[in-house]
Structure formats: structure tokens, C-alpha cells
Assembly symmetry: C2
Homo-oligomer: 115 residues x 2
């Protein structure tokens, strides 16, 4: 799981989360891994980006959650041209199916409690 900045990432609600759940095809492992790493890098450079957490099981099903300050930042990232191109290739060859949910984070708590 790539959550290197999730522990530090404890902004006050409200903020936004994009839940991306997907089922991979068995195609193009190398190209997929390269794209996933590039999109992770690129997302981190976007205005309003707060953090990302992701996990993929051996069966090819995965969850990625990215966190953002506001909806405008999410729309700008969706419309980023390099991201658009990755989205198209995703539909053509990398994903059997996916589901995107845009969410407003309204409450949160942690263990151990934040100092």
C-alpha cells in the first residue's frame, strides 16, 4: 500500500476523497505499472492534492483513494491532459471495470489519537 503521506495527512474536515475501485485485465503489466507510478507522481504535483492511499490484491482488484482540498482541484486533475490520456488507455486495455466515487469527508478520527 502506498500510504507514505497518509499518516501525516490529517487535515480538518471537510475535504474531499476520490474512491477509485477497479478490476485489472491481465494485459500489459509493465505499461500499467509505469502509468500508475507516473500518475502518482503527477497527482502529487497538482494544486489541492492532500494525499493518496492504494492497495491491490493478487486477484487484480484494487482500491485507490486520493484526497483533495476541494471539488475544483478534483475536476482540474480529472481534466489534466496526461491524466486524460491514461484514462483512455485504462478503458482500452488496463481495466476490465472501475468505479469512481467523489466524496466529501465530513468527520474523521484516528488511533492513536492525534497528539
Amino acid at each position: 500500500m502506498n500510504d507514505s503521506n497518509s499518516t501525516a495527512m490529517r487535515p480538518s474536515a471537510p475535504y474531499y476523497a476520490v474512491i477509485f475501485t477497479s478490476q485489472r485485465t491481465t494485459d500489459d503489466e509493465t505499461g500499467y505499472a509505469r502509468m500508475a507510478e507516473r500518475m502518482d507522481q503527477l497527482a502529487r504535483q497538482q494544486p489541492g492534492f492532500l494525499g493518496v492511499e492504494s492497495s491491490r490484491d493478487k486477484d487484480g482488484s484494487g482500491i485507490t483513494i486520493s484526497y483533495w482540498t476541494d471539488l475544483a482541484s478534483i475536476r482540474a486533475w480529472r481534466d489534466n491532459s496526461e491524466h486524460r490520456s491514461a484514462q483512455e488507455k485504462g478503458k482500452q486495455k488496463w481495466y476490465e471495470s472501475f468505479h469512481v466515487r467523489i466524496c466529501r469527508v465530513e468527520q474523521s478520527h484516528s488511533f492513536p489519537p492525534a497528539g
Copy 2:
């Protein structure tokens, strides 16, 4: 990933998601697995439950997202006595750390598009 009902689970927004991200200790694999399965069963029986998706990596970090019709259902599940007992044991031995986020799902879309 346990997402047996996630494909079918496409209610219209708004509904609610509980994002639970956690880091396991290395303790009590058997007890943890038994609890996780029981909580999955029990959650599915609660009023307002819509679905659950989860994934845990080999390094012990995991994401579980449960979906609910409303906040009252989430509170009732949080306060369920068997669930409360599992939460306590979680803090005592199963989790090094966790983060809970209560979210309102405002928009969603799928690929392939819903028929």
C-alpha cells in the same frame, strides 16, 4: 478483495462511505481473521448497509470501505455492542494505527457505464 456485492451496489448519490485505513500489528493472525469475517457478516445484517470493499497488502496496511444509506445507520453500526467489543480489541492488539473517515458520496460513475 472482498467486493462480491460492489458491482451490483450502485445506488444513486448521495449515500455515505466509511473509509477505514489501518496498519496491523503482527499479533494474533487467527483471532484477527475470525473477527474480520464476523464483522463482515454482522455489518451486512445492519439496517442501511449497502456494500463493502476491502484490501490488505502483504505489509499489513489495509483499506476497508463500507457503504451506507445515511449517517444514522453508520452511528448505529458504530454503537453495535459486538462491534464495540471488536473495536476495543482492535486498539489493544490488532492495530498499530488506524484512521476512520465518514464521507458523503456526492457523485459516481462507472466503466463500463451502467446499462
